[in-house]
Subunit: 440 residues, 4 copies
C-alpha cells in the first residue's frame, strides 16, 4: 500500500479515536475558544486535555478574522502574567534571594499563555495552529502594539520547538508529493515559479532543492534552497531558469550555485534557519557529488537602488554629479536594452554597488540585508555580475546586478569572526578594488 493510502487510513482512525476521546466533552462543542482555553488551564485540562485541545484547534480554524483578533487580544488581556503575583514575588526576592524565591519569581513571571500553548499543542494540528496564530499576530503588531508581549512569548516557544535539532533536511525533487511541491510554487520569494513546468525544470537532474521540515508539520517546508549544478561561477540567473536550457551532467559540475532561498512560514518570523540550511546542503552535496569544488550563491542586492536613490553627495571618488547622471540614465525607458546607456552606466554602477556592499553600514553592519545574512554566515563577497538579473524586480531593486557570496568550509569560521569582532566585510580583491574606486 502506498504511504498515501496509509495516511488516509490513519486519518479515519484518528477520527474514530477522536470521537472516543471526545465522549467526555462531546456536549461542549459550542464552547467559545476563550472558554476552552480557560478550561485547558484548570484541572479539567488534566483529565481532558487532549479533547479540549482538539476542540480549541478546531474552533480556532473556524473563527472569523475578527474573532481571531479578539482571541489574540484575549491572550494579552487574560493570559498575561498576574501583576499582583509578580509584585509579591519581586518583593519576596528582594528581601531574600533564596533559590525558592527565585523559583517563585520565575514562575510568576512566565505568562500563562505559554502553558496554554503547550497544552493546545497536545492536539493533532496543534503546532500548525500555533504557527498560524503567530502569523496572524505578526500582521497585527503595528496596529495593536500591546500584542508585542504575546508575540515575544509565542516566538520564544516556537524558537524552542523549532530548534535545529528537531528539523530534518529533505531533498525535494520530482518524486516529492505534490502537496509539498505546490508549496514551493506558493512560497518561492526570490524568482517566482510559473507553474508546474517551471517547477519541474528547477528539480531536474542538474538542479537540487533542499528544505527543512519539522516532524509536526510534515507537509510544510520551513525554508528551502534551490541549487544549480554548473561549471564555474554562474553570473546570471535567467539562463538557469530557462526551460530550454541544456541539462548538464551533475557528475561533471564543479560548482553549486545557491540561486534562491525562501522562508516559508510567516508564523516563524525571526527564527532563523538559513545559516544551518546552507551549511548542511553544502555537506550533503559534497557527499553526493565529490566533484563539486565550489559553493556560492547568486544573490540579489535588494537595497542597492533604494540606497542609491537616497544618496545626497559624492561617493568616495565618484562626484555627486556623475552619480546624478547615472541615476537619470536609469530613469530612461528600457535603459537596460540600450547599449549606449549600458556602456555609460556599467562602470560607475559596479563601483557604486561594490561600495554599497562593502562600506555602507547601519549600526556597524552592512546596510544590505542579503549581504548581512551571508557575511554573517561567514561567506565571502566574491563577484559582482553585471546584468545578472534582467527581471523587472532585479532591475528596479538592484539595477540588474547580482552578487556571488562564496562559502568555503575552511574559512567560514575565520570570516565570521572577522565580521563579528572587527565588523569586517570579507571580500575578494576584485570587489575590494571596485569598492575602493568608489570610495577613494
Amino acid at each position: 500500500m502506498s504511504p498515501t493510502f496509509v495516511s488516509q487510513i490513519f486519518n479515519s482512525i484518528a477520527d474514530t479515536g477522536r470521537e472516543l476521546l471526545d465522549l467526555g466533552t462531546g456536549k461542549s462543542r459550542n464552547h467559545s475558544i476563550e472558554g476552552l482555553c480557560r478550561d485547558l488551564l484548570t484541572q479539567k485540562g488534566e483529565a481532558s486535555g487532549m479533547a479540549l485541545a482538539r476542540e480549541a484547534v478546531e474552533v480556532w480554524a473556524g473563527l472569523t478574522e475578527e474573532e481571531q483578533l479578539n482571541f489574540l487580544l484575549f491572550l494579552d488581556n487574560e493570559m498575561s502574567p498576574d501583576q499582583v503575583r509578580i509584585d509579591k514575588a519581586v518583593a519576596a526576592y528582594q528581601m531574600d534571594q533564596s533559590p525558592q524565591n527565585y523559583q517563585y519569581l520565575s514562575a510568576a513571571i512566565e505568562a500563562p499563555r505559554q502553558e496554554l500553548m503547550r497544552r493546545i499543542n497536545f492536539a493533532p494540528g496543534g503546532t500548525a495552529a500555533i504557527v498560524g496564530m503567530r502569523k496572524n499576530l505578526v500582521g497585527y503588531l503595528n496596529e495593536y502594539p500591546q500584542l508585542k508581549s504575546v508575540d515575544n512569548d509565542l516566538k520564544h516557544l516556537l524558537s524552542s520547538w523549532f530548534n535545529r535539532g528537531f528539523l530534518s533536511l529533505e531533498r525535494i525533487d520530482w518524486r516529492t508529493p505534490a502537496v509539498i511541491l505546490e508549496k514551493l510554487i506558493e512560497y518561492e520569494a526570490v524568482h517566482e515559479i510559473d507553474g508546474w513546468e517551471d517547477l519541474r525544470r528547477r528539480l531536474d537532474s542538474d538542479r537540487r532543492c533542499f528544505a527543512f521540515f519539522h516532524p509536526a508539520l510534515p507537509d510544510e517546508p520551513l525554508i528551502f534552497v534551490e541549487v544549480a549544478l554548473v561549471k564555474g561561477l554562474a553570473d546570471a540567473v535567467q539562463p538557469l531558469l530557462q526551460q530550454e536550457a541544456e541539462r548538464g551532467d551533475p557528475r561533471k559540475a564543479d560548482t553549486a550555485i545557491f540561486y534562491s532561498i525562501s522562508n516559508c512560514q510567516d508564523g516563524l518570523k525571526g527564527i532563523s534557519f538559513g545559516n544551518f540550511l546552507i551549511k548542511q546542503v553544502v555537506a550533503e552535496l559534497s557527499t553526493e557529488l565529490p566533484n563539486l569544488k565550489h559553493f556560492a550563491t547568486l544573490s540579489p542586492v535588494p537595497g542597492f537602488m533604494k540606497w542609491l536613490t537616497s544618496v545626497k553627495g559624492k561617493i568616495g571618488g565618484i562626484p555627486f554629479k556623475e552619480i546624478g547622471a547615472v541615476k537619470s540614465l536609469l530613469r530612461e525607458n528600457e535603459w537596460f536594452n540600450n547599449a549606449s546607456i549600458l556602456d555609460q552606466v556599467k562602470e560607475p554602477l559596479e563601483k557604486l554597488c561594490a561600495h554599497y556592499l562593502v562600506n555602507e553600514k547601519s549600526r556597524e553592519r552592512p546596510l544590505d540585508p542579503v549581504a548581512r545574512f551571508h557575511l554573517g554566515n561567514g561567506a565571502r563577497l566574491e563577484q559582482l555580475n553585471w546584468m545578472g538579473d534582467k527581471s523587472a524586480n532585479g532591475l528596479s531593486q538592484s539595477a540588474g546586478l547580482l552578487v556571488n557570496y562564496y562559502y568555503n568550509s575552511k574559512d567560514i569560521e575565520r570570516n565570521h569572526e572577522a565580521y563579528a569582532n572587527e565588523r569586517k566585510v570579507v571580500a575578494s580583491s576584485s570587489i575590494q578594488s571596485l569598492a575602493k574606486a568608489g570610495k577613494k
Copy 2:
C-alpha cells in the same frame, strides 16, 4: 533497500557531513566541555554552532563520572542567571512596570543554561545527550541539592520539547526492530521480561504493546504499555505471562487488560505520559477491534504491605488484634501455599486492602501511588483480585493482591472531576462494601 540499510548510509553521510562542517573547528578537538559551552553562547556559536554542539555532545559522551558531575556543577556555578542583572531588572521593574521592564526582567531571570541546552540540541544526538545529562543529574540531587535549580531548568525545557503533540504512538510487535525490542526487555518495570522468548509471548497475536516515541529519539521508547486481549476482567497476572498459555482470538475478546506500564527514561522523570498513553491506546484498540467493550488495568498495590506493617491501631471495624494475627500469619514461611492460612487471611486482607485504597490518604490524595495515578486519570477502582500476583515482588508488596482500574470513556471526565474537586475515590460497589467493612 531496507530501512536498515538506509539508516546505515545516512550515518556515513552524516559522518562525512560532520567532517565538512567541522573543518572550521577541527583543531579545537581538545577543548574541554566547559570551554565548548562557553563558546556556544558567544558569537562564535552563531557561525559554528553546529560544529561546537557536535563536539560538546561527543565530549560529554566520553567524560568520566567525575567529569560529568563537574559539568553539572558548572551548569550551576557558571550558567545560572546573573544575580546583578536580576537585581537591576527587579529594581527597574519595581519603579516602572512597563512592558519593556517586564521583558528585561524575563530575560534576566532565564538561566543561560537554557539557551546553552537549546544550542547543544543543534547537534545530532543532542536531545539524547541532554536527556542523559538530566538522568545523571537526578541521581545527584540528594547529594548536591544546589543542583535543584539546574534540574528545574532541564525539566522545564524537556517538558516543553517532549510535549504530547510531538510524540507518536507506535505499536510494538514481532516486526519491530530488535534494537527497540531489547529496550523493552531492559525497561520493563512491573513484570520482568525473561529474554526473547518471554518477550515474544507478550507480543503475540492476542497481546498488544504500544509505546510513545519522540522524533529525536527514534530508537528509544519513552513509555510503553502491555495489553492482553481476553474475555472478562483478568484477575491474575501469571496466567497472562505464561509461555504455554493458549493464544486467544483477538476478534473474540471483549476486554483489553493493561497489565504493565513502564516509564523508560529516567532523564524525563516527572514528565508524565501515562495518562495520554492509556487513553490513546484505548482509542486505537477500539478502532482496530470493535469487539472490545471493556478497558481495564491489572495493577499492583505497591504500598499496601508497607502501610499494613506500619498500622498501629484498629482499622475501622477490624480490631487491631485481628490485624496483628493476620500480619503474623503473613510472616509464616510459604504462607501463600498454605491453604489454611489463605483461608484465614483472605477476607481480612481484602477488607484492609479496600480500606487502604479507598480511605487512606496523604494530602487528600490516595496513599497508594498506582491508585493515585489511575484515579487521577479518571479511572474507577473496580475489582480486588485475591492471589492475583504470586511473584515474590507481588507477595511482598501487595500480599499477592491485584486491582483492576476500569477506564470508561464516558465517565473519565466525571470521575476525574469528582476526584479532583471532591477528593472522591470512585470505586465499584463491591470495593466500597469491602472498604466500608474495613472502616465501620
Copy 3:
C-alpha cells in the same frame, strides 16, 4: 530524510555498483544488442549475466526506431526454437511418450528468447525495457505478422510476471509523488485530464483514485480507476469533473461511482487487470467508508453510434424509417443543444441503445466492448443516462448516453455464471423494458 532523497542516494550507489560490476565487460561497450544477447545465452552469461544485461538494457534504450525493429526481427529470426531440435524431439516423443521425451519436447519447443528475456531482466530497468519492447512490437504486428510468435512469447512471460499476486493496490491522491501524478495526466483514456488543477479536483476529498503497481515498475501505474463518492447513482459525468463542483463529505456518501478506468501500459496489452482492480477497490472503499452501499460505474457506450450507423433494417419494434429519421436528426448541427430534436430522439435512442447493449452480440458476447468487460466481471446493466456525457467524444460515440454497471458483491458470481454459461446479459428491469421495446 525523505524517501526522495534516499532514492537519489541509491541511484548513486547503483551507479558505483554498476561500475564495479561492469569492470569485467567495460571494454565491450560497443557491442551490438544482438551480440550482447547472444553472449547472454552462453556460459559468458553465467559469470557476467548482470553486466551483460545492464548493457543490453542501456543499448536498447539508445537504439533508433529502425534498430529497434531490427532487434525485434532478430528475436524472430535468431531466437526462435530450433526447428531441427523440435523435429527430433517430436519424433522421439511419437516413438515413446516417456517423461524424459516429454521433458525434451518441452525444452525444444520453448523459444530461446524466453530465457533471453529472463536474463535481460537481471538488470535494473530490465522489466521496463521488456515492457517497452513489447509496446514497440505490438505496433509492428500488422506490418510484420511474423512477429506474432515473438509477441506470444513476450505476452506469456509478462503475463506470468505481472500476476495479480505480485501487484499492489495503491491509493493515489495529492500526497502521491509528482512523477506518478503526471502519468495519470498522460494515461487517462476516458475523460482527458486538463492539467494539474483538473487532476487535483479528481483527487479531492470526495474522490478516490486507485492504481495497481508492480514492484519492478514503482513509478508506473499499470491501470487506474477514478471514483466519485456521491449520493445516489450519478447520471452524468461533466458535473463530476467540474472544478467548481461542491465538495461532498465522503462520510455521507452512499454510492461510489467508478467513472473512468484507464490501462496505462501498451506493452501489457491483453493482460487484464481491470476485473481485479474494481473488486479490490470495492473492498477497500467498503472498509474505509462503511457508509457506502452502492458501487457502480458511469460508463460510455463506445460502439453504439458506430453500430447505429451500420444498421440496415428495423430494430425490433422500431421501423427502419424511424431509425433513419433519428439518424438524420443526429446529423444536424448542435443537435444536442436543440430542445426540439432532443425531444424527438430521446425515446428512440434510449430504446435503441438498450437494445444494442442487451441484444446485439458477436460470437455470443455483447458487441459493445465496455459492456463485454463489465458484464464479464459479473456486473449488472443498471441504468441508461440520457445526455450523460456531452463531450465531443461522448456525443460522437455514444450519442451522449452513459450507462451504469452495478457491482453487487453478492450477485457477482451468479451474474458471471449466467453470462458465461447462458450468454445472458443481466440487466435491470427498466433496461430490459427499454430493450424489449426496441426488440419487439
Copy 4:
C-alpha cells in the same frame, strides 16, 4: 505510526476485504482443495479467481501431511498435459510446421498445473504457499519419482518469478525486524547461530549481513551472507564468531571476508542466487567503505574427508602408505589437540587438500561442491588455512581446513571463462605448488 502498526491495520483491512470478496463463494468453504483447483481453471475462476485462490491457499495450509501428498499426486494425475491433445498437436505439427501448429503444440504441451499455480498466486500468501508446496514435493521425489514432472513445472515457474530482477538486496542488522532476524538463526547452515546474543555479535559494527528478498515474501530471506570486515585475509573462523572478540573499525578494514552463505528456502532448491548475491554485496561494500580492497570467502571444504576416506591408491607423489598413516592418525581421539599428530599430518593434509580441490573432478568439474560454486562464479582459489575451523563439523568434513576464494572484479570474467571453456581451476601459486606436490 510504525510500519508494524500499519501492517496490522492492513491485515484487518485485508480480512474485511476478504469477506467482501468471498461473499460469492462463502458457502463453499467446505470445498476440497482439489475441487477448488478444478474450479480455478474453469470460467468460474475468471469471476471469482481471487476468492477461490484465497480459499485454496487456506485449505492447503490446513491439510494433513497425507492430504498434502495426495494433493501433489493430484497435480501429477489430473493436472498434467492431456496426452490425446499432445498427440494431435504433434501429428498436426509433423504434417505442417506452421506457426499456428507450433502455437497449438506449445499450448498442448504446457501442463495445466502451470496455469493453476499462476491462479493460486492471485491470493495473498499464494507465492508462499507455492514455495511451500515445492518444499514438500522435493521431500517426496525419491519415494514418488513420478512427481519429477510436477517438480520440473514448479521449478520452471518459480525460477521465472524469482528472477534476479525482482529481488532486492537488503542489509540486515540490529535494526531489522525481529521476525526476520529469527529466520537467520533458523536458516544459518554453515556456522550455527546460538541464540540472540550470538546473532547480535554477527551484526555488530564490524560485520555486515545482506540478504535477497522477494516482494511477495517480505519476511523471508531467500539467501543471506555474513561478512566480517578485517585486516588481511582471515584464516580461521572461530575468532570471527567469538562474542568477546574486539570490535574493529570498519573504516580501517581492508578486507571483507564472506564467512557464511546460507540458502533459506528449500522450496527454491536449484534456483541459484549465490553468484548474484556475492557480486552485489561486493559492489555495496565497495561503495559504503572505499577502504576495502580485498573480497574473499572463508569456506569449508565439505567433501574433502569423504573423498580422502575413499582414496584407494597413491595421490600424485604421496604414497598410499603415507596417506593411510595420515588417515589412521586422524582416527585418534582428539587428534586435533595433539601437537605431535598435528605436526605429522599438517603437510600431507594440506597437499592432499590442495590436490583434491585442484585436480579431483567429476564430469570435468571440481568434486568439491563449494569449490564448484565459487570457481564457477569466477573466484580464485587463494589460500589454504590449517586448523581454520575447529568445530566438530569442520573437523569431520574438512579436517579443520578452510579455504579462501578470492573475488577480484577485474578477473571474474576471465577466470570464469577459463573455468567454463578450459575446465581450468584458477588457483594462487601457493596452492598450485601444494597441489603439484600432491600430484607429482
